[in-house]
């Protein structure tokens, strides 16, 4: 068949023009009766024409499934079979067709295609099996540019990946057999050619034997192998991976003489604290003194930060306590550097706070960082620390005018301290006053330290708490978030976007959609090919990290969140959702394929707000970010229910998903993972899908709590309710006339109330800002800061009001 005819057939399938498509395929089948490709192509078209009518069992599984007896050799036929099985989430079968083909028609090219597909599907067992076949059929210069030995390494890497990512899929025999074979194959290709090969050998010894084995003898045997193998490389090259192995396993086999020599050799090249610690440990074991060791460290590294800190480690190792001289040796150079607190904290159990503060007081210059460090070491009550933070800021605020714009001032920590105190509010939920006061502090500070991203992210979060997305975005835009950062940082704004700011033409949404496409639609699909290239280019040490990265991005919870938000936004704005739902289903299938389960990888950065924000226990002002794995699954189910309700059919995939995810007593689950209005909305569609809306009359009425009528919760309440009622209003399944009227009436009332709801919230902002407490005003005055103008917030509220009133 010419490429043109093939292209035409696939275009006809795409356009659902099956009549013409079937004629063309029938003609081809007649012309080429022995072609397996046309048989599969016909099956494929049949499936696409009517997936519901397609009999998976008889048409596909019984012939080409795990027990099937039909063998296919043709590459294009195999590819189509793979696609068909994937459509049914039969990931094992999808790759098994290659295994069967390899059994009957073995070739290097076929094995390579099998390997490629297995990387793409994240099926490490088949990667391993395909590697063995590659090794068997590779002939350098004829069909392969790589030698058989390379494929032995490919096999070892595949087994490493299998044990790391999908170990629970292995049988007891496989658990034993795969490591042994990986090890044996590597032993056979010795001597290794480069450090990348050494690294894989060490990784196999470590991950497939030492980490899995409880028997010390075998552990030590493999540890010794690692040491013996790497030791000669130390004199010829500097490799950071090999450094880690030699240090770790010299210590494991307790060969301290060797550990001493190796770590000393490494320290001659690089200044590394973990090596220093090993050096100190070994030094003690071979009978060197504390003083002798310290002198050697200085001889090796000079008085660097690591070397100075190593004095403390020496004291702890040799005497169990830290000398004043050692602390002073470190402090004299670093008391006024930001690393000071983090470094000394590692030794806090050996240091008395009072002593450290005394030492600090002896040192000059007492610059802003010195004072902040001192404050950190002081164990202060909250009142004391607020006062100190203000004093500290005022003592050094002149430095803000002198510093370069692109430098970051340590004084931001004082401001953040005050903000945290304000938002903690003695354990109660902070009031609007507290939030406005905090924003006043942060906005004033930001003008003096414009690029400080710590304070900026706080500002973004607090504006989002107030529901002012456009204000939050004006700061977010300064951060120039792009590429992989989108997966980590955009949740600060995009979480619940469809119910906070459904403004499709707003620059933020436009910016986000571009970044989303760049990362998830363009970069992510390319990564599998990069992984393949890393095998070919022998960048072996990086493959596990790349696989992990690809897997985490495929199953990224933020990616999922943003897909669901897009679908919800399309529903709210009456746009077509069929393609988006299909995309959601495809993502769901891919996560299952890569992870073996419907689990997410949470790559969002939860560290930005230090100890104040814990992902599993978000403080009140960060509740808008509470969007758990379960929230995502529940929202996915909700959109699927609405979709299948609109088609007037049930769906077995959805039914299974509901059964796996939603317990019979769903109320507790919904309360924990959704806002009250979101839970209400879910219940309505659940009732419609599962019980044909038998309780709809009772559940329809919803009265918001007072809390839901301000902050971000107002938009979340209003828009979620609106979207729910609009969807119900468009549903043909609801035939009860009274019910229909009731829905229309509620919708009308809600829309009529829109302006009042937002105006009332604006008034609350104005009145709250006018009643800042005397303490709050005093603090602002003492810092020479101005109060935040309430119009800044009310303008933001007005923008949302305008965006939602016509929905």
């Amino acid at each position: 068949m010419s490429d043109r005819t093939e292209k035409e057939i696939f275009e006809l399938i795409e356009k659902s023009n099956f009549k013409q498509c079937n004629v063309k395929i029938a003609l081809l089948r007649k012309q080429f009766p022995n072609s397996s490709y046309y048989v599969i192509l016909e099956l494929f078209a049949k499936f696409k024409q009517s997936p519901k009518k397609f009999n998976y069992e008889t048409e596909l599984n019984s012939k080409y499934g795990l027990q099937g007896k039909e063998y296919v050799n043709d590459r294009k036929a195999l590819n189509l079979l793979h696609t068909l099985f994937i459509e049914y989430s039969k990931f094992e079968e999808a790759l098994n067709v290659y295994e069967k083909a390899m059994f009957k028609y073995p070739s290097f090219q076929l094995a390579m295609e099998w390997f490629d597909k297995s990387i793409s599907d994240g099926h490490y067992k088949y990667m391993a099996k395909a590697s063995l076949q590659l090794s068997k059929y590779a002939v350098v210069g004829k069909n392969s540019t790589l030698d058989k030995r390379n494929y032995s390494i490919w096999y070892a890497i595949s087994v490493l990946a299998l044990f790391r990512f999908k170990r629970d899929t292995l049988t007891a025999t496989e658990l034993k057999l795969f490591p042994m074979l990986a090890f044996k194959n590597l032993e056979e290709i010795k001597p290794f050619h480069n450090s990348e090969e050494y690294i894989i050998y060490c990784s196999v010894c470590e991950a497939l034997f030492i980490d899995l084995c409880n028997e010390n003898n075998e552990n030590n045997e493999k540890a010794r192998l690692i040491v013996n193998e790497i030791l000669p490389t130390l004199s010829s090259e500097v490799n950071l991976n090999l450094k880690k192995f030699i240090i770790k396993y010299c210590a494991k086999i307790e060969d301290y003489e060797l550990l001493y020599k190796s770590s000393k050799k490494i320290l001659e090249s690089i200044d590394d604290y973990s090596v220093l610690k090993s050096f100190i440990k070994a030094s003690k074991h071979i009978g060197k003194s504390n003083e002798e060791t310290k002198k050697l460290i200085i001889d090796l590294l000079g008085p660097s930060r690591n070397a100075r800190l190593a004095y403390l480690e020496c004291d702890v190792t040799f005497t169990g306590k830290i000398d004043r001289d050692s602390v002073m040796f470190y402090l004299e150079k670093f008391h006024h550097k930001q690393c000071c607190v983090v470094d000394l904290n590692a030794y806090k159990e050996y240091l008395e706070v009072e002593s450290v503060l005394n030492y600090m007081s002896e040192l000059e210059p007492k610059n802003d960082i010195h004072d902040v460090n001192t404050l950190h070491f002081s164990n202060l009550t909250s009142n004391e620390s607020s006062e100190k933070a203000i004093n500290l800021y005022n003592s050094h605020k002149h430095t803000l005018n002198k510093k370069m714009k692109t430098d970051y001032s340590i004084l931001s920590t004082s401001i953040i301290k005050l903000v945290e105190e304000s938002l903690s509010s003695n354990g109660k939920n902070p009031s609007l006053n507290d939030v406005l006061f905090s924003l006043s502090l942060l906005e004033n500070y930001q003008t003096k330290d414009p690029h400080n991203f710590d304070t900026k992210t706080w500002i973004i979060a607090l504006y989002m708490h107030l529901g002012c997305v456009s204000q939050a975005y004006s700061h977010f835009a300064d951060l120039k978030i792009k590429n992989v950062q989108s997966d980590i940082m955009h949740h600060l704004i995009y979480t619940r976007m469809s119910s906070l700011f459904p403004h499709k033409s707003h620059p933020y949404i436009q910016h986000f959609l571009t970044e989303k496409e760049n990362l998830y639609e363009k970069s992510l699909p390319r990564l599998t090919n990069f992984i393949k290239i890393s095998f070919e280019r022998e960048a072996y040490s990086k493959i596990m990290g790349m696989l992990d990265f690809r897997n985490r991005l495929v199953s990224s919870s933020f990616k999922w969140l943003s897909d669901i938000e897009e679908t919800q936004l399309a529903r709210l704005t009456n746009n077509k959702r069929g393609t988006l739902i299909q995309k959601n289903l495809e993502s769901w299938r891919k996560i299952n394929m890569i992870n073996g389960a419907f689990n997410f990888s949470d790559n969002r950065d939860w560290s930005r707000f230090g100890e104040f924000v814990k992902k599993d226990n978000l403080p009140y002002t960060f509740q808008y970010l509470k969007f758990t794995d379960m929230s995502m699954k529940v929202n996915f189910i909700k959109e699927l229910m609405i979709y299948y309700l609109s088609l007037g059919e049930s769906n077995s995939t959805l039914d299974n998903l509901i059964q796996e995810t939603i317990p019979s007593d769903k109320l507790v689950l919904l309360k924990e993972h959704l806002t009250p209005i979101e839970a209400w909305s879910f219940n309505i569609f659940y009732d419609l899908y599962k019980n044909e809306g038998s309780s709809l009359n009772d559940t329809l009425e919803y009265i918001p709590s007072k809390e839901e009528l301000s902050t971000w919760r107002l938009s979340n309440y209003y828009i979620t309710k609106l979207a729910t009622l609009k969807t119900l209003d468009n549903m043909q399944q609801i035939s009860d006339k009274k019910l229909k009227e009731s829905i229309k009436k509620q919708l009308q009332e809600l829309r009529e109330n829109c302006d009042d709801l937002y105006k009332s919230y604006s008034s609350e902002i104005i009145s709250s800002s006018s009643v800042l407490s005397s303490t709050q005003k005093k603090i602002l005055n003492s810092l020479d800061y101005k109060e935040l103008k309430p119009e800044l917030i009310t303008d933001g509220i007005l923008k949302i009001q305008k965006a939602v009133r016509d929905l």
């Binding site: 090249s269 200044d271 604290y273 670093f334 430098d407 950062q485 290239i533 990265f549």
Partner: protein, 196 residues
């Protein structure tokens, strides 16, 4: 307390402390992957072991992205990016990263003749740092930082400190001083002259 470790692809999820900095570039994932694949040993990071892992996963304080390129006398390593998180600046971490690259590429399997990097002509702080580490200006690349709007430089006569880069080099012993020019700042070239 800094430890030097190889950079892994998954580190890209934990770079906020470093990459939220306004002057630090965030490249597309493919660019980082290219470096990981082609120069796996020359992409590494400093990790702060004392950062409390229960509070933050961001314990990377800086990283080095480098490559090797060129032929014959021009065989060298090139520093593509060396960057340090704001809170760990002025602790010589950048020096540690540069020195480590030097140690790695001055021996087998690399054995480079020199290391080079590009720095904006108006970035006095960075130039001073590199000079302290033994680098010197080899030539001035006119219009290296030109945007699409600026267009390609038409002449070597016009200089702009904000748009031009210094090509700074440090020669290894085997280079026998070929990468050192006492009057490097006077030597000018076009961006296409720096392709290897």
């Amino acid at each position: 307390m800094s430890t030097l470790d190889p950079f892994e692809a998954t580190d890209l999820f934990n770079l906020d402390n470093v990459n939220l900095d306004v002057l630090t570039e965030n490249f597309p994932v493919e660019f980082y992957f290219e470096y990981l694949i082609l120069w796996p040993g020359l992409f590494f990071k400093t990790v702060e072991q004392t950062v409390d892992a229960s509070i933050t996963t961001n314990n990377i304080s800086g990283y080095m992205m480098a490559k090797t390129e060129g032929h014959g006398n021009d065989w060298h390593s090139h520093i593509t990016a060396v960057t340090v998180a704001p809170e760990f600046r002025r602790l010589f971490l950048a020096s540690i990263l540069c020195n480590t690259l030097e140690k790695i590429t001055d021996v087998l399997p690399h054995n480079v003749n020199f290391i080079d990097l590009f720095v904006k002509c108006d970035n006095a702080l960075a130039i001073k740092l590199y000079e302290k580490l033994g680098y010197s200006v080899f030539r001035r690349v006119v219009g290296y930082y030109n945007t699409a709007g600026d267009g390609y430089p038409e002449t070597l006569k016009k200089c702009n400190d904000d748009k031009d880069a210094f090509d700074m080099r440090k020669g290894m012993i085997r280079d026998k001083g070929k990468s050192i020019r006492s009057d490097g700042r006077k030597h000018r070239c076009f961006p296409h002259d720096i392709k290897f």
